[in-house]
C-alpha cells in the first residue's frame, strides 16, 4: 500500500523539475467544438469564394468586397450559431452547477469557454482571407491589397461568436443555434441589400461599388460598434456589477451614431479609381483606370488592329477614357473592364476581338440613339466591320442569309449591307481616310444628315 504523502522513488537520471503544467485554456482551445467551428468557417468561406472566383480574382477591391460579403453574410450567422452551440455546452453536459461553484468569476469562466470558439472562427476566416489574397496576388493588375475591412470583419466575427454564446447560455432550446443563424441571414440580407437610408451603414455589410474605398476610420468604428454591443451583452450576463455593461454600450452607441451621421460618406470613390494610365502613342489614346493599370498592354494589344486602320483619320476622339462618370467632350468610354468576371477574368482579357469590336461601337457614339435611319445603320455596320468585326459576325451573317432566303425585303437589306462593306473595303487608302474623317465628324449624331453615304 502506498501512502499519498509518500514520494515516489525518483528514477535515476530523471529531471528534478516537475512536469510542465499546461494552462487550463489549452484544453478548451485544442479540444471540443472550437477547432471544428474554425474548420467549418474555413470550408464555408473557401467554398463560397472559390465558386465565384472569376468575379473577384485579380482585383484587390473586388477581393476585399467579396471576402467581406462572404464573411458577413455567411460568417456572422455561422459564428452566432457556433457561439450559441458552445453556450449550451454546460447545460448539455450537466456541469452548470459545478461551474457556478468555481473560484474564478463568471466573466472569466464564460470567456474560457467562449474565447477559443471565437479565436478558432477568426483563424478559419483569416486562413480563407489569406488564400483569397494569395489567389488575387498572382494575377493582380494594379491597386494594392486592402487590410482595414478584413481586420474589422475578424472582430465582427469574434463579436458575433461572443453574442451567440450569451444567447446559448440564456436560451435552453435545441433549435436556438440554427434559429439564431437563420435570423442572422435574414437580418443581414435585409439590412445589407435593402434601402434604409443612412441606418443601413450600421449593418456590418452594405452593397457598395467596387470603385469605393472606406474612409480610414470606418473599419475601426464598425469594430467598436459591433464589439461594443457584444461586450455589453457579455458583461450584462456575466459581470458582478452589471452597470459595467454601460461602458461598452456607450462606446457602441457613439460609434453607431458616427456611422449613421456620416452615411454614404463612409464609402467615397477611391482616389486611385479617379485616375487613369494612358498609352499616348496611339490615336485615339488608350487609357485604363489606374486600379487595373497592368491591363493597359493587353488592351492596347487588343485595339492595335483598330488603331492601325484609323491611322491618319481625323475627327476622332482624343482618347478612350476609363474613369467614373461620363466621358469628356473629346473622349469616349473604354469598353467595360469591370465588373470583373466578364470581359476580364483573372487578369486576362477573355476575348480581345470582341473587345476591339466593342471599342469600335463606342467610337461611333450612336449607342444612345433611339432610332437610326436604315442608311446610317448600314453605314455604321460597314464601318464596324471594317475596323474590328465581331467574332460572332459569321453567325449574324448566316442568320441574315437564312432570312434573306424567305423574304425579299431581308434579301434587299442583306445585299445593301454587303455592298456597303464592299465599297468601304475597296476604297484606296487616301480615299478611305478622307471618307472616315468625314464619317467620324458626325459621330454622336442620331440623324442621317451629314453622315456620308457608302
Amino acid at each position: 500500500m502506498t501512502l499519498l504523502t509518500e514520494r515516489a522513488p525518483r528514477e535515476r537520471g530523471a529531471s528534478p523539475r516537475p512536469p510542465l503544467a499546461r494552462h487550463p485554456l489549452r484544453a478548451e482551445a485544442v479540444r471540443g467544438f472550437a477547432p471544428w467551428a474554425g474548420a467549418a468557417m474555413l470550408l464555408v468561406l473557401v467554398a463560397a469564394l472559390a465558386a465565384g472566383s472569376e468575379r473577384w480574382q485579380g482585383g484587390w477591391a473586388e477581393t476585399r468586397d467579396q471576402v467581406h460579403a462572404a464573411a458577413i453574410l455567411l460568417g456572422v450567422p455561422l459564428a452566432l450559431a457556433a457561439g450559441c452551440w458552445q453556450g449550451g455546452r454546460e447545460r448539455r453536459r450537466g456541469t452548470e452547477e459545478m461551474l457556478a461553484a468555481a473560484v474564478r468569476g463568471r466573466t472569466a469562466v464564460f470567456l474560457a469557454s467562449a474565447l477559443p470558439v471565437a479565436l478558432w472562427l477568426v483563424a478559419g476566416y483569416a486562413v480563407a482571407t489569406a488564400l483569397a489574397l494569395l489567389a488575387t496576388w498572382y494575377c493582380a493588375t494594379g491597386d494594392r491589397p486592402h487590410f482595414g475591412t478584413p481586420l474589422a470583419d475578424a472582430l465582427v466575427l469574434a463579436s458575433a461568436a461572443l453574442a451567440g454564446q450569451v444567447v446559448g447560455r440564456l436560451v435552453a432550446w435545441r433549435l436556438a443555434a440554427p434559429l439564431l443563424a437563420a435570423a442572422g441571414y435574414v437580418v443581414l440580407a435585409v439590412a445589407g441589400y435593402g434601402n434604409h437610408g443612412s441606418v443601413r451603414h450600421l449593418a456590418p455589410f452594405t452593397v457598395v461599388p467596387s470603385a469605393s474605398a472606406p474612409v480610414w476610420w470606418q473599419p475601426p468604428t464598425t469594430a467598436v460598434w459591433t464589439g461594443g454591443l457584444a461586450a455589453a451583452a457579455v458583461l450584462a450576463y456575466t459581470a458582478r456589477r452589471r452597470a459595467l455593461a454601460l461602458l461598452p454600450l456607450v462606446a457602441a452607441t457613439a460609434a453607431g451614431a458616427l456611422l449613421v451621421q456620416t452615411g454614404d460618406g463612409l464609402w467615397p470613390t477611391a482616389p486611385l479609381a479617379r485616375r487613369q494610365v494612358c498609352d499616348t502613342s496611339t490615336t485615339p489614346q488608350i487609357c485604363v483606370n489606374a486600379r487595373y493599370q497592368g491591363l493597359l498592354p493587353q488592351v492596347t494589344d487588343a485595339l492595335s488592329g483598330l488603331i492601325d486602320r484609323l491611322e491618319g483619320v481625323e475627327n476622332l476622339p482624343v482618347r478612350f477614357e476609363d474613369r467614373p462618370g461620363r466621358p469628356g467632350p473629346d473622349e469616349v468610354e473604354l469598353p467595360m473592364i469591370t465588373p470583373i468576371g466578364w470581359t476580364v477574368v483573372r487578369g486576362r482579357l477573355t476575348d480581345p476581338e470582341e473587345y476591339a469590336w466593342a471599342a469600335g461601337v463606342t467610337l461611333q457614339g450612336r449607342a444612345e440613339c433611339e432610332e437610326l435611319a436604315p442608311r446610317v445603320a448600314r453605314t455604321d455596320e460597314a464601318v464596324r466591320h471594317y475596323l474590328a468585326p465581331s467574332p460572332l459576325q459569321r453567325h449574324f451573317d448566316e442568320d441574315d442569309a437564312r432570312r434573306a432566303r424567305s423574304s425579299a425585303a431581308a434579301r434587299a437589306e442583306l445585299e445593301a449591307k454587303l455592298a456597303a462593306r464592299e465599297r468601304l473595303a475597296s476604297m484606296g487608302d487616301e480615299e478611305r481616310r478622307a471618307w472616315l474623317s468625314s464619317y467620324f465628324a458626325t459621330r454622336d449624331a442620331c440623324g442621317a444628315e451629314g453622315v456620308p453615304a457608302l
Partner: protein
Amino acid sequence: MTRGPLLYARSRTLPRTVLVLGATTVLAVLGARNLNAYLDPSRQVPVVALAPLFAAAVIGTSLHSASDELDRTAVRPWWRRRLVHLTALTGCAAVLLAATVYGHPSPFGPAAMVRNTLGCAGLGAGAAALLGARLSWLPVFGYVSAVYVGSANARDRLVPVWAWPVQPAGQHTAWVTAAVLLAAGAALYVVRGARPEGRHA
C-alpha cells in the same frame, strides 16, 4: 401497444417539431409575400433556399434521442420507426413549404421548394448519423449558405450538380442531386440511427 407510437413521438418532441415547422411555414409565407416575385421570379430564391434549410435543421434535431443507450438495447428493430419518423416529417415539411409559394407560376415555385426540402432533409439526416442529431444543422447551414452566395453568376457546367438549391424547378440535374442526397442521408440514418452524443457534446 397502441401507446407505443405516441410515446415515441413524445420522446422525440415530435408535436413541438411539427409546431416549429408550422411556424417556419408562416415565416416563409411572410417572406415570400414581401419579395414581389411577380417582377422577377428569381427573387423567390432566398425563401426557396432558406425555408427548407431551416426545416431540415428542425427535422435533423428532432432525430435526437435522450435515451440512446437504452434504445439500442431494445429487441424490436428501430429502422421502421426511424424511416417513418424521417419520411413523415420530411413529407409534412415539403407539403407545408410548397404551399407557401403556391399560386403565381414560377420556376422557383412549389416544385423547387419540394426538391430543396427533400435534399436538405437528406443532408440533415446524413449529418445526424455522422455528427449527432443536435449538431446536424451545421453541415446543412454551411453547405446551403455557401452555395447560395457562391453560385451567384457562376457559369460552370457542373453548377446544377452542386448548386441544386438555387436552380429552377425544371433543372433535372438538380433533382437528381437532391434525390441522391435524400436517399443516401435517409439510408444512413435509418440503418445507423443518429450518432450517440452522450453528455460530452
